[in-house]
């Protein structure tokens, strides 16, 4: 199935725009059980389910309008960089009325240096805005599948709180959607720890493809990752942070292990990443309940609870602490 066919399955009756524009907001999300590896690159179907927590303070606001002529895409008030604009236009082709263009105004409240991918919140906000514009009235589940076509992790940014993106079994991808996990956890904290770095050695998409293609250990990942999701679900239901933190940290380290064993090696860590990891382990030995996760970059994201916030921030003065259920 092609992405175009997929969209036709989800949106059988295409409507003319019902309003002049659509506008929507979506949060970024931090994966606690990582998405790493695609089984279908065109449909962004994952090798494994994944689980995340959204950060409602950070995200993307997008306004979309149908226009005559070519797409006009702005990012934070400026003409968008070419690669960004091309990626969005290709995605918009899936929904484009013949001969029309889209004006897309996107604003990210994600600090550029925070080490957070804005593509997840960006594609989630965009499909929500399109849903308004075309009056599709699709369920969040179906919107998550449309967002998935833009960026896999965007499927999870349709929701606040914890979200689970199901791997799915079908080749058509119609069972690979995200849904929210109905748990509140007001004392939970997420700390963003920025690690200075130059440019990334490789994009996360390319790193993922290379890992699947050349990492001799990767074949053991999907089964582990699936078990991670189930174990994390249980820890979330019990609001058991020591358990959830331990599972999330092990999950992230195992994903990074598959990157490191890739050929040529994909090492997103810098010396400072390793120092921060060791500081966190030292804090835990002192009884502070703090764990970390890392994505395809050098930055760390910390998990802790309100009671340990002071101790964690004392060790990492530049930490930006967020309240997911604030």
């Amino acid at each position: 199935m092609t992405p175009h066919e997929f969209v036709r399955r989800l949106i059988p009756h295409r409507n003319a725009p019902q309003v002049q524009h659509g506008q929507a907001w979506a949060p970024v999300n931090i994966a606690l059980a990582k998405y790493w590896g695609k089984r279908d690159t065109a449909l962004n179907l994952p090798q494994n389910s994944s689980l995340s927590i959204s950060l409602p303070q950070l995200g993307t606001d997008t306004r979309v309008t149908l226009i005559e002529g070519a797409d006009r895409i702005t990012l934070n008030g400026q003409p968008a960089p070419q690669a960004f604009a091309q990626r969005l236009s290709r995605f918009l082709d899936l929904f484009r009325p013949e001969g029309m263009g889209f004006a897309v105004e996107t604003h990210n409240s994600v600090p550029t240096a925070a080490g957070l991918a804005s593509s997840a919140s960006g594609f989630a906000a965009l499909v929500k805005a399109l849903d308004q514009l075309f009056d599709w009235r699709l369920s969040a589940q179906k919107l998550s599948m449309l967002a998935r076509l833009g960026s896999g992790s965007a499927s999870r940014s349709l929701f606040n709180g914890f979200a689970l993106w199901h791997r799915g079994q079908q080749t058509d991808g119609l069972d690979s959607y995200a849904e929210p996990i109905d748990i509140q956890w007001p004392d939970l904290r997420i700390g963003l720890l920025e690690i200075d770095t130059g440019t990334k050695p490789i994009s996360s998409t390319a790193g993922m493809q290379q890992t699947v293609a050349t990492c001799p250990l990767y074949r053991a990942w999907p089964e582990f990752a699936e078990a991670s999701v189930q174990a994390q679900l249980a820890a979330i239901t019990a609001r058991d942070l020591p358990q959830l933190g331990d599972l999330a940290e092990h999950n992230a380290l195992t994903m990074h292990a598959t990157m490191i064993a890739t050929h040529p090696s994909v090492l997103y860590w810098t010396a400072d990443s390793v120092s921060a990891m060791q500081q966190i382990w030292a804090l835990r030995q002192q009884g502070v309940g703090v764990w970390f996760t890392m994505d395809a970059g050098p930055n760390l994201k910390l998990l802790f609870e309100k009671t340990d916030q002071r101790a964690v921030e004392a060790t990492f003065p530049t930490l930006k602490t967020l309240v997911p259920f604030g």
Copy 2:
């Protein structure tokens, strides 16, 4: 099969000492295709074959004498540390004439801070000294199996140059021995790069056991490791350093990946290890033919050829360069 039974199979007729003492020397070795994981902890039978190069300038000299009473073990002229002495005495039990003790004088020419395990050269030198003392006249292949009982990697320290330790298939361990690879490579260089560190987070033996027990990726290791050995053999036969270096570096990184994904994580790298790895990758991008390998510690061992020695040493002024075929 117990280690005692194993020794009885290799040395059916025990002789009384034929000389007053035995004395022998054995080199350290650097694994290019790593030994990581045991299939039998009593007999030190490995999950996979491994391949190494010996450093003839560094090693252990051991003199052993039969005495009345308890063992007397010295290391570099001093009474040996208790853990070291106990490990040797337990090994010597396998060969001990009833009621007798051993005097063992061991001298390591391995700089303690070089990040080189002296147990490999130590057990290799000890079994060679015992062979003299008892006049067993065992083949190097059989001596490598006896050394293996003391420390797996010691099986490879019976030889100069490249050595291959065969995994073996039998449960009795009688087909798990090392043998030399008959290749000279005078231009090859090994550089020892010491990385400052505090104490190791965990011994290599414990790290290995934990990896096998809890690393979700480990099950993919043995097959990869076996293929590594075969590919490295071909590169050695062709004296193809870009190929051998690439294979050795990927092998080491994949072993470290299994450690990193262990639960709890076994991370031997420090921030400085990561900086050194990145310096080596930068050197390669500049056209310098240098690759690294790492064992269960923070230090790097560099592979290069004579032509690149100046460039490598310019980047790493503290490097100790050795000539394996000097």
